[in-house]
Symmetry: C2
Subunit: 498 residues, 2 copies
Amino acid sequence: MTSAARPDRWQADPAAGLAGGVDGPDLVRRLAGVALDAAATGARDRGGPVPAGGPDAVARAVRAACPDVLPEEGAGAEAALTAVLRALAAGAADPADPLCAAHLHGPPLAVAAAADLVASMINPSMDSWDQAPAATELERLVTAAVADLAYPGRPSADAVVTTGATESNLVALLLARERAAAPVHLVCSDEAHHSVPRAAWLLGLPTPVTVPTRDGRLRPDDLAAALDRTSGPHVVAATAGTTSRGIVDPLPAIAEVAATYRAHLHVDAAYGGGVLFSDTRRGLLAGLDRADTVALDLHKLGWQPLAAGLLAVADGTLLAPLALRADYLNADDDTGAGLPDLLGRSLRTSRRPDVVKIATTFLALGRAGLGRLTDRCCAAAEDAAGQIDRRPGLRLLSRPELSTVLFRPVAADRLGDRTGDELVAGIRRSLLSSGRAVLGRATVPGPAGRGRLWLKLTLLNPHVTGADLTRLLDLVEQAADRLTRAPRGVADGASTAE
Amino acid sequence: MTSAARPDRWQADPAAGLAGGVDGPDLVRRLAGVALDAAATGARDRGGPVPAGGPDAVARAVRAACPDVLPEEGAGAEAALTAVLRALAAGAADPADPLCAAHLHGPPLAVAAAADLVASMINPSMDSWDQAPAATELERLVTAAVADLAYPGRPSADAVVTTGATESNLVALLLARERAAAPVHLVCSDEAHHSVPRAAWLLGLPTPVTVPTRDGRLRPDDLAAALDRTSGPHVVAATAGTTSRGIVDPLPAIAEVAATYRAHLHVDAAYGGGVLFSDTRRGLLAGLDRADTVALDLHKLGWQPLAAGLLAVADGTLLAPLALRADYLNADDDTGAGLPDLLGRSLRTSRRPDVVKIATTFLALGRAGLGRLTDRCCAAAEDAAGQIDRRPGLRLLSRPELSTVLFRPVAADRLGDRTGDELVAGIRRSLLSSGRAVLGRATVPGPAGRGRLWLKLTLLNPHVTGADLTRLLDLVEQAADRLTRAPRGVADGASTAE
């Protein structure tokens, strides 16, 4: 029995006090109180979804709070927490605010943030059992549960934890590369996330083949034609929930095509994977379990603080190329004596235990509870689409499939292509720089094939209400009016705080 | 002015409550209190550096606390926090305990953990300004400060944030690959971290050339000979603080050799980089600023919760290959209007703001305060080495350079090579499985070239005392006595909880 605490020293200098040990929790409780006060004050300072004034004003405020981030002598724990965290909160684009709806950038659950605090304190590192005894088993439980979500009832399925779908897509392509006897060609749609072709570049694969989508969706016949034109072996990357439109590619038909060409099928379900929790919407992902590998992000529809990525694999033996031996972490005699070997579970070495917050959230809400949160986000998107349809000044692109809604002011349609796009971009920047709302943007091919710019709502906040959406759409229409009346043109929204 | 709060709903179901917004901090405060109570109870349950009983016992305890990690209906926030976090803490190998000294696995500072909580709550994602306005500027300040630590007074220097040296080493090799006109050959020592050759494999580079070390150190003449034998272009990876022995390669002479061969010089200073904070020890890293790229890990000597990796570059233009355009994150007209472009700062897309905890720690302790913590770890290693030297039953390999101490019982030397190694491995597993201490291990070439196993202390806890070290060495000697007297041999430490 040992005591990790040196309370005498910590009272003299709390900045040097440790978070762990028997007495760490008391010091963390005190300092977390200071941190939370600073966060609350900063949120009140901000008073909206995002600070007004744009990049220069925010940068000035941060530098004023923190004129020398690494001074010669420290300011002490409480002063530092107050200065940095108040500035951080005052200058945040807070996804918990209903008017912050631009990106696949979710508002974390309080229960997950609280659990993550203890992960930070104890700091298990997932590269060896003797750094993470209990966390090793927690990770096993969580990855098994996630594998069963993606591949229900498949005993061979497994999952590994990543920093997000960008890493999941990389590992998926790596596994495809390593199982192939010749250089593997990536075939994906023009709506695949940029991290998919970027992974091919990173891994030294041949130049990817891009298949144009129609209405944002990869068509199986177009995919087959592309595979026909490209020498194998192939890895096909489909998307369940595209970034720009939230569209789910037709997975059963794509799986058929991939099987015909003996391609490794990877599905990037970073966004759409969240519907696996929902009884009413799970069917949208039918066919997902025919993929060899599936990318999932629980920091999107899963409400985890970053990061909470996973890669599920249909067959755990696919993970073999990740195996690695390092004497100090998984020596043969140690694994022979029963110590679990964790090194082959990641491309990283030291690794934060992201499963701690995930396990706590899973247990707190259950599958059905998470499904209800997903349903609320999707219902909010349907509500927003309906409200847009009923407004003569706005035009809806299409009914939402997940929780993404694309729309534009009809005033933009009446202007030329370029000026219309400038109006759309200007509305977004004007609302952002004035601190009123954070909207996304997406380019969508028009009837003549030329891309036109649309406003995008990505609704990941399960507590958003119809009234919030009404307010958001009012702001868009007001900004459109203001900018179409503005004498100087419409494209300079970012520099004009109003 | 909007309100992100739905307190009515959260009171009904705190598990679904958000961490952000104006009222999030109050819910987080309540749930963090539950989390901290669970962590404190778990630490008391454990009562030592690591739970007794080995992997099976720990796994059983976790499964008992959490028999179904994803139940159909949830258990609620407080029950989930209590169950998961008490089991996590009870089953932790806590680096804040002085007898947990195996790995480059640091005990986090309470101030950093408290700051990281607010990062989790607000959840800025570092891939676009409109997800992370203030965090963008904080990251700029921190990376500039770190670049100036590695490259003092060099205006061209820059740094990017990574998940740790494994990713830093990968990015360094990627930058070397992209600036070379032909496939680049990696040349590194046999003491380079495994992530260095693994990065070459990932990137599709030619098979690396490994240079044998002498006494754990890369010799410049051996490096020159290897470069001579290998066609260019080359990337040389040196180490400032090896994982097994904490040795700093002779950087000035290596930089000379690299310059002669026009090689990209990368230094993995994941461990040794911590001495940059210290007035008395900074000289150990003389020559570091001649490297093209430097990997640093502030979750080692820097006392951050995972992850806090950085890659410093001598010239920011080296980072150009990371540039990427994605219309939804950094459209030309947005960057033209003054919105910062963050995509080219990482291989990741969504990215946790690890700079929040780093900035807070830097400000709380200052450079000198961090230097004093580094000095205390290095002084503890010198103390341990002295104590080992004075014990007739133990043998010290060599004086520590950083904070790593290798030693073995003289009883192991008296046994044959294989049986001696079994004794060393058995001592480590016996102390681990009985919950008494967590020690590391390292294989070191003997006089005849054959590797022999040593016990390793990696001292990253600045609060460890001489009395703690005495207790740790007593435990080692007692275990050695017990195992040499054991009738069944010495290699079965892991399965025997005593």
